[in-house]
Each structure stands twice: as C-alpha cells, then as structure tokens.
Symmetry: D2
Subunit: 366 residues, 4 copies
C-alpha cells in the first residue's frame, strides 16, 4: 500500500517538498472526538526547526482541515489535512539535480522512478512530509489521552551524550511533551545542544537515540505472529526517515543477559498482575502486558551536510563532488521525536480500534 | 491480518505446539519453480534442536506439501505445508497451566483470549510454529537463489561473545547456510557453545545478536514511506518470537557517528553506481540501493528456564513459584537464524513480486 | 491477496480437486465459541451431491480441525480445517488434459499459469474447494446465530421456474436451512427437479437464481464508499464459481421503477425506525439499516456437460471436439446455496468484528 | 480500509458535499505517464449535470493536482487531486436536518456515526464525491489507453427504454466516450431523455442499467477465488452510490439458459484462442480470457425527489413528511457512466500492476 498505512485506522500521505502543498488523509477515526486546533499547532511547533540547531527553512505549518470534521468534532469520515508549502527555494536544488546526496533517497528514487521523480528538495522523500504526519498524529494522540493512554519520548542519546533513564514516567511524559528539546536531564540537554552546534560549525551533523514510553495501554493489545505489537510499531517507525534501528525493552542489551535476568517476574497487584521489572518493554508474545511499552529508535545523522562529499553525476555518468548549499539540520532528533509519537499513536489507535471496535476511541463523548 | 503476512506473496500460519499438526499456506508464488524436498528438509534440520545446546524435544519435522505443487513444480496456486506434531508430552504442561512463564506469551495470551487459549506448550505462540515458516521459507529462498539473490545469517554475538564481521559475503553466506551453528570465526563459535552449555548447567539461558546479509538484490526495491524495505522487513522479523530489536547498517551505532562518517560516498562503478562504504545497510529512503542489505536482530535469552521463577497463579490469584520441567533451549540463536532467513526471503519475494509482477520469480523456467 | 479474504476475520483457501487434501484457514474468530461438529457435517451434507440431480462423485467430506479449537471451543488462534480427497478418478481427466472445457477456468488457468497448473478436475479452480468454505462457514454461521443473526437462501429460479417470494422470513429461513433442495414452494421445487433431470438426460445443465435473506443484522454495519456492505458481500459472492450476477433489493428491477416507488418510506416503530418497504434490500449508502438484507445471485448453468463441445487442443494448437466423461452436476444451485450462506456469514463476521471488536462474536460465553 | 481501495494501485477518497473541498489520493501509478489536463476536464464535464435532465447545482469542477505530477508527468509518488466546493447552498439542508431522505444514506449515517455526521447535502455520502473519482479515473483511463485497453459504457436501459446492443465495440466505445448522453441508438436516447423530463415534471426520478465493455485486456488477469476479476470489479462498482446490481456476460440471463447455450465454444484464431460467443463476459474462473469484458450495472432511481415522502424526525422521534427543495437529478445514469468507467479503470490498473509490476503501465515512455 506504499503511502497508506493501517487497517481499521489508516493514514495516507502525499506531497513533495517543493510542491504546492503536502497533506495526509486520516481515516477510520471514531466520530465524536473534539479537534483541538491549538494542540495540532503545538505539535507542529515541536517539529519545526529551532534556532541554530535546525535548518533555516521556516515553514509556518499553517494547516487546513479539509474534511472529516464538522463543528470541530470528528464525524467518522476521512480527515484530510493540507499544509501549504511556502518558504520554497527550489533554485537551491537545480544545481545539484544530477548529484544525488549520499545517505539520502536521491539516488534510489532516481533508479526506482527512472528519472521522473521530483528531485527538488528530496521530493516525496523529504522530511518535510513528516509535518502532515504530525498534524494527523495530534488528533490520534488527543484521542488516546482521553482514554488514559499517554506517549512521551526523550532524546536518550545525542552525539554520544546520554540522557537520564525514565524514572517517573507519568510526570516525565507530561514535561517532555511540552519541551522543544525533550530530555529528562537538562544538563545533558545542554551538552547535546553544544555538540549539535559544534557539528553545525564543522558543516556536519549528529545522530542519536530516541526513547519512547507509552503508559495506560491495556493488556491484550497486539496480535499473534505477524501483527505483533512490535511488528506493527516497527513497521510504522521505520517509515520515518533517518530511523535505522528499533528495539523494545532491553533490546540489543538482551545479548548480554541471562534468561534469569531478562525474564520479568510476575506478581499479583491490587488491580491485576504486573511485572517487577520491565525488560520486555511491556510486550510479551507480541501482545501488551499492561506494563509501560518502552522502545528506542536509532536516528542516523542528518545526511544533508554542507561538507564536500563524493558522489556521481547521474547525467554525465562521472564521479563528482557535492557541496550542499540548501538549508539543513545539524540534528534531527528533537524534531523527529514528535513524529515518533505520532506514528506510535496511529499504530496504537489502529490496534485498539481493531480490538475494541471502530467507536471505542470516541467513547467518552458517545 | 494477524496470522497472514504479505501482499502479492503472502503466508498464513496456523497450529499449536501440542495440536495434531502445524502448518502454513504460502500464496502468490509464481508457477514454474521446482520444489527441492531435500532443501526443505535441510532447512528444517538447521532449525531443529542440536545436542546439548538445545531442547530435548526431537521432532522429525516430516512435512507434507498438501497443495500448490504438481509434479514437483509450483503451479501458482497456494502451497499448504503440514507438519505433524509427534513428540508431544502435554503432561509436562498440565501442572503449570495456571502458572504463566515469565517472559513468555502465557500471561498475555491468557488475558487476550479470556482463558480459552490452548495453554499446552505455549499453544499457538510456541516457537514450534517457526518450523512451517522455515518450510515455506525454503521455497522462497530457492526462488530467490535462481534470481541471484542470496541470504546468509551468522551469530554476531552470543552471551556477549562476538563473531568476526562479514568480510567476504558471497563465500561466507554459502558456508553459513550449511552450518548448524553459523559463525564466521570457528573459535568464537566454540566459545559461544561453551557459554551456552554453562548456562544450561545453571538452568539458565543466553541471548545474542544475529546479523544477516542479502546480496544480489536489485536497486529500486521497497516503497516510499510506509512500505519502506526497513518497514516491511522489520514487520516480518519482529514476528519471530524472542526478537526484540532490529537495526539496519550501522543501526544504533549511528548515534555516535557524524553525518560525514555515516553517509556512504557514491562512486561510478563498471556496471552502475555503488557506495564505498555501506553504513546504510543497502537501503536509502526505504529503497534498496544495490549494495548488500545488512541488518541485525537482537534475540532475547530463551524465557523458558529451569530455574525457579516468581509468577502468579491465575486460578487462585496468588503469587507463586514456577519450576519449569519441560524440555527447553538454553539458546535459540542458532535455530532462529534460519527463521530470520525465511522471513527475509518471504518479504523480499513479496516486494519483488509487487515491483516486477507475479511471474517474475518463476522467470527462469517460464 | 488472491486466496485470502477478509480483514479482521479472514479466510485462506488451498487445495486442488485431485490433491491429497483441500482446506481452509479461518482466522480472527473470537475465542469462546463452541464448535458443533454435527452442524459442520450438516452443512457439508447440504453441499454434497444428491441423487440424480448431482454428480456421481461422492466425497464423504470427513473433516479434521487441525488448529484453533481446544476442548471443542475456539481459542482465538487460526482454525485450519482439512478435508481429504478420496473418491478421485484422475484418469477421467488425462485424456482431456489439452482440451479446455468451454465455460470453465481450464483455458484461463492454462494461460495464466503457463501450463504449470494442476489440470486434473479443474485443479485449484474446482468447485470441490467450496467444501472447506462451507466447513469454515458453519463456524461463522453458528457464531452469528448466537448473536441473533440468521441467513437463509432459496432457489428463486431454476431453469426458468420461479419459487415463491419470501413472506415469513424467520420461519422460512429455518426451514430452508434444513432442506437439501431449498425452496419455499414445494411444488415449484418438484418442477425444478424435473427440469434438472430432463437436462441431465440430454447431457446438459441448467442455471438459476439464488435469493438470500439475512435477519437480525444491526443497523450501522458496512462502511462508506469502498467497503460498503454491497461491495464486500459482492466481492465474496463473486468468488464463488458460477456466480455471474449479484443484486441487492430490487436490483435490476430498479430500472423500471420511479424514485417514488423505489424509496422505502421510513416510519417510527416501537424499538426504533424501520421502512415500510424494503426495495433497498436493507442497505442504504452501503450501510445496513436494520431491515432484512436481501440479495440475489445469478448462477450460470454448470459448464461441465456431457454433450460434445467445440474447443481447442492446446498441445497441437488445433480445433477439437470435447466429450466430457467425468462425473458432473446438471445443476449446482441447490449445492451452491450453502456456499452463498457461508461466504455471507464470513463477510458479516468480518464487518461485525471490525465494527464492534474482535471479541464481540464470542460475547455470549465471555 | 473504508475510504481506500486497491492494492498495488489504490485510491483514497475524502470530503463532504458542503465542505471546503473534496479530493482523492491516487497511489501506485507508474512514473512516466503524461497527464492530460484537458482529458481530466473532459471526463469531469461528462459527470457534470446537463440541462433539464440533471440537478441545477453547477460545480465548475476546477481541479488542482497537488502532488505526484512534475512537469506534467507522473513521478511515481501519490497523486492528490483537490476539487473545491463552490456552488454550496447549505441552507437548503438545515430545514431537513432531522428528516432523513428515504433511499439515501442519511438515516444509516445518522445511526452509524451517532449524530456526528456532516448532514449537509449527504455529507461524505454525497454523489458529489464521485467527481474526484472521475478526476483520478481520467489518469488511469489514459494510462490504459496507451496500453491498448479501452473502456466504454452506454445506457442500456433508462426508465424501461432499451438501447441497442453493442455490435461494433471499438467504434462504439470511441463514440460513447465523447457523448454526454451515451447511447448506441440515438432514437432510444431521445426517448430516454423524454422519459427523464417527464419524471422530473412529476417531481420524480428514473433508474436504469449501464452496460460496460472493456477491450484489449490481456488474458490471464484476475486471481483465483477471492480476487477474481468479477470480485474486484464488483467491489469497486458497488461502491458507487445508486448501483444495486452487477452482472457479467449473460448475468441473470443465465437462469434461463442451458449449459450447452451458455458455454462459449473455443476456437483457434490467428493470434491465439478466442470464443465464438461471449456469454461469460470475457471472464472464466475469475480470470480474463482475452475476449471483451462485458458487465452491466443496475442504477436505482435517484432517491432525492421533490415529491412529498414519508420519513421520521430523528430529533422529535415522530413520523414526518419530507419535501426536498434542494437541487437534484431526475436521472443519474448519464452522469454515473463516467464513474463506472473510472472505477473500472482503477480496478484494472491495480490488477495489471499486480500481475506485471508497478512500472508496466508507464512502460511506453520508460
């Protein structure tokens, strides 16, 4: 389905970096959910470039809800959200049309689409398309919150600098969701920003790791085998440009653990069962167990850097040197965070709607 | 779709650990592919328990191709493969019916299915169901090989012991595919086995990391955004029990890299373009770039261990201690390897059939 | 998805007429539904050939439930049902291997599968594969009944002879579901049988129309546009061999009606709203309105007839005459009826599970 | 998937009758197809109301291609087309908000969406949404034509008046595709128009039958069982509002035929095989046989009529009388025709892309 994702709740993405507009169709959302335009704007703000640690391209990210909402409440019909492209400098790209940027989709798009791709600013592969994902994500995040399900992500690692671990999930999630540079330890955050600025000065970029927690998800969500919660979440997460790794719970750390350490002991709690540790990240056998769902995403350094790079000229079929003069991000972590939250919310809404029915998420009002 | 996966080429999995039989339906396979029963048996052999480093349950894994093959050649109709369950000791499980094994699907299945699940030996969630996946995988691996696409996996890390890196992919893949304990460095392999046996003696288990390489995949495979090659591969890989992390190319290592290191320089080669490094693991923008596809899977320690563990009694709703007396694996890495290869082959066949049409994989004969 | 159908509740079909076995995987069925083996047998009996008006091939249709059922209750895991093929006379088909039967899939399968198709008895395209559909259908029909939803089909027209119209749906459905030759008017039924026998004597076959009613379906089931109830039902119904037309409510009769006749007046009833007529067959805008769902399927005359027919020899590439000597049905209507009911039940279970969640159908017990 | 349809080539529909805009996302279209804006406008013109036989609502149907097209050529990325709503008179609907129109989706939408639906002008269920379907359809129709595949539809029956049968498909298709009131016999067409005007004068509406022919479709397209060509075409066709019946070839006429009449004799032709008759409408066993694909759609009389009608008041829960004062069509047949062609083209492109790969339709240019 390429640009459509999800079953009961689904999303369809369209647009190019330098086209008239980009957008998204969010389908399957229960009727009766109040749309909070300010919250959508807030989420888009969190995705927008910030100061010296981001690209100079400044999109206002004004958005238009074209359908599916009536009197500010979802109707049950598909919700199309459009975001016009305004601050476009296509000329930046004409020079380098035949010079695919290393680490980017330029070359693979050129091969796959036989040269017909819109090459301006990465075209359909541009990170700019995460803006409509975030707009749609704001709606599903709102819906989940009303059901007591909250999602929060922090920068666990930026340029090798580690943030503190989660320790007080509920409060940390609240704070992270307000912060443009989401870290638990402010001091670590400052070091990260310094590292990003240092890379920017050297015409370079940095990578890192995002860590996400979901609280309030009922036990029993996710399906056996091919639609395991890990399968569907990773499917969505790996759709986000620059994400090159996903791990749940202890993840790659399991390699150094014994089963007796890795297994989470089960105990009886007041309101049911819980585990005393959470090495499995809230998922067993692909199904949520009621503990917080914890996962991490590896984010590669932004491939668009100003340093001269070795590439080829696809027109002349010769080797070439590329110097990118466009506006780019020395780090994408703090902006990617809200995309991760949005995709996570979409996947969870889809799984919840499949499990409990199409009206479930609208249930408070209905 | 729960137990069905794939679009143009798809797989449907069914069965329980202690039922009469388990099996798989492989649909969408091109007509004209010769079925090599010996190769299916070989692949099943690679998945079977081996000596002291595996469970004592010995299934012969005899298989019956029920449909879709006529005169030993695929017809284009769905291929059902059945594997009877023979060496069943259900009594092992009756005692522990109400005692969910930590780290396993027992508890989540119990919650999700309201107590109606087949609890014997993990039921539908048993690792035993990877046997039909491997049988189906053998068919798709064969089909890919005829098109020059080969897949190989080694144990990159077992109990903290590292194998050598890939250095000579073509030959290493050939050797790995013959070996029941797939490592590049035999010495590292011996140390790993020693570590597994040590864990077994202590009634414990170990985890590790599998690393997979795919060579010969054409550039241009995979779709933008939601059906990126990383998305569809990870979707399949996270379906495999015990896999808790997936990373492509440098993966989580990207966190410590600069963009200038991470980007793979592009050069003109005799027959097209290539990159001089492969930090992106053969995938840019979700689309294969013609370089080897490289990914790693984190495998958690087998949750079934003989050590006493803390759990609950779901009948009496009290805390309890569990001592598992069934037959279990102190390590699953060497057996999971062929499951990873099988799922990888399935996903690639699906993507290739979508890109080049339903007959493409049968093309040599037709 | 070719041989898989449905989203939340799905079915995967496999097998060939002359293979070892045929079967089906029914996935997504709620846990906690009691399986009634006698009812499955009863439904298979309704599908089996009957006396002079059917083929002489007599399959006992013994079935084996391989998975997904534990202690006679569904577990929530996929249910695989196998039916062995026993009364096989493949020799009947070797003579005519290169002589595609007019009106059958022989020629199109030969073209599509490049000669690799299993040509014996129609292979994967054989009407025999409706037996596993009926076995799976029995389970979903049972599940619907417990929720007060009943399906019944009668032979509306056989060889031009008309049955009475539905007039007392609830009782008629009960009677039809017990009858091997389902008609409302016994006298019309006798005339139909006479017409079938007359055609058989002339080595010919007859067609007709099946009419189906569904009662008890809640209003609000079905989706706007592409998953309208009519869309998903017709998708399933046209999968049944020999069905060449589907119409809802007045169907093609609407062509001669005015809007003022066609529109069903809406009135307030004790327990909600209803319409005083039902020309729309219980569906408006693709969504059930709470009235009985009524549709008709056109069934073409069985294409396998004993009369000499003009065809080609695909081996010699010459024109040829075909005389079919196998065992065939002069009419398929009375046997196809239970297939229609089964597919209808599958589609409705899928829609209901999507709307109300995966546990809804198991709700009585849970 | 509700508002998304198709696999390899798919369409996502959004919008409401009285919202800002309606639109469609067409995904999976091969790169390299030239977009002919005039042809899109022509197709939209064919769908627009015409004179006295149509509604007075006059939408200019200006359209904006938002994405997926670069320098007037498809890029391979999803194509979003927007159509603004301009000639809106929502006040027409406020009076009748609580009075569901008989035969329409008003009542079922009200039940399904719990009163949150956009009730103005039918909201998301409005026939107005077929405009974006037609815009997207124009692109896929163009793509098919370049591969030699042509689609044409005539009004076979309007208000009981019959058009001539197809006799010279290639020329008739060309002529029909230019005509705003598509009939083969002009005299019949005049009678039909007279009947429509007569109904309009009586504040009523008429129904009819559309007959479609597809020529040039290769043999071997369509899948066994659940994705039979009839299944996927009918799935799409029944998505079109007012279509209540679909039949292929002889369709319901098979009921009165013997097998010996119904079977199409196969003969050897210069370039392969063909049948001497085409009662099966070009499809056997769900797969195209190379003959023209012929099907008919029953179109019910437009439910919006000006005559007083019996309905309920969903606010007061009392019986009520409805007099619709909006602008409506006394017949929809001539406008629905191009929607049928569009959906048919979409389904065929999806099937062809699945069979021959994602680039196949762009093949001429690439």
């Amino acid at each position: 389905m390429k640009n459509t994702f999800g079953n009961s709740v689904s999303i369809t993405l369209f647009g190019e970096s330098h086209g008239d507009a980009i957008g998204v169709v969010l389908d399957g959302i229960a009727p009766g959910i109040t749309i909070d335009g300010d919250f959508i704007a807030h989420q888009l703000f969190l995705r927008r470039p910030q100061g010296r640690i981001s690209t100079a391209r400044q999109e206002q990210d004004s958005f238009q809800i074209v359908s599916g909402v009536f009197n500010k409440i979802t109707t049950g019909a598909p919700i199309c959200i459009l975001l016009p492209n305004k601050d476009i400098k296509s000329a930046d790209y004409e020079d380098v049309r035949f010079l695919p940027r290393p680490g980017h989709a330029d070359l693979t798009a050129h091969i796959k689409y036989h040269g017909y791709e819109d090459y301006r600013g990465g075209g359909h592969f541009s990170g700019r398309l995460t803006a409509p994902l975030v707009a749609a994500g704001a709606i599903v995040i709102s819906a989940l919150r009303k059901k007591g399900i909250a999602i929060g992500t922090h920068i666990k690692n930026c340029a090798g600098i580690q943030d503190h671990a989660f320790s007080d999930l509920k409060n940390e999630i609240t704070l992270l969701n307000e912060s443009p540079f989401p870290v638990i330890c402010e001091e670590a955050g400052e070091k990260m920003k310094t590292a990003i600025e240092a890379a920017a000065l050297e015409k370079d970029s940095v990578g890192g790791v995002l860590e996400t927690a979901v609280i309030g998800l009922p036990a029993g969500v996710g399906e056996p085998w091919f639609d395991s919660l890990e399968s569907v979440l990773s499917h969505g997460l790996f759709s986000i440009p620059a994400i090159k790794g996903v791990e749940f719970g202890a993840g790659f750390g399991f390699a150094e653990m014994r089963g007796s350490e890795a297994n989470d002991p089960i105990v009886w709690a007041n309101d049911g069962v819980r585990t005393t540790t959470n090495h499995n990240g809230g998922v067993n056998g692909g199904i949520s167990n009621g503990m917080p769902v914890i996962f991490r995403c590896a984010v590669k350094p932004t491939p668009s850097i100003a340093k001269p790079q070795q590439t080829v000229n696809t027109g002349t079929k010769e080797d070439a040197t590329l110097e990118i003069r466009g506006r780019h991000d020395p780090a994408i972590l703090h902006r990617a965070r809200v995309v991760v939250d949005s995709i996570t919310a979409l996947v969870l809404c889809d799984q919840l709607a499949l499990r409990y029915g199409t009206d479930w998420l609208g249930g408070d009002i209905i």
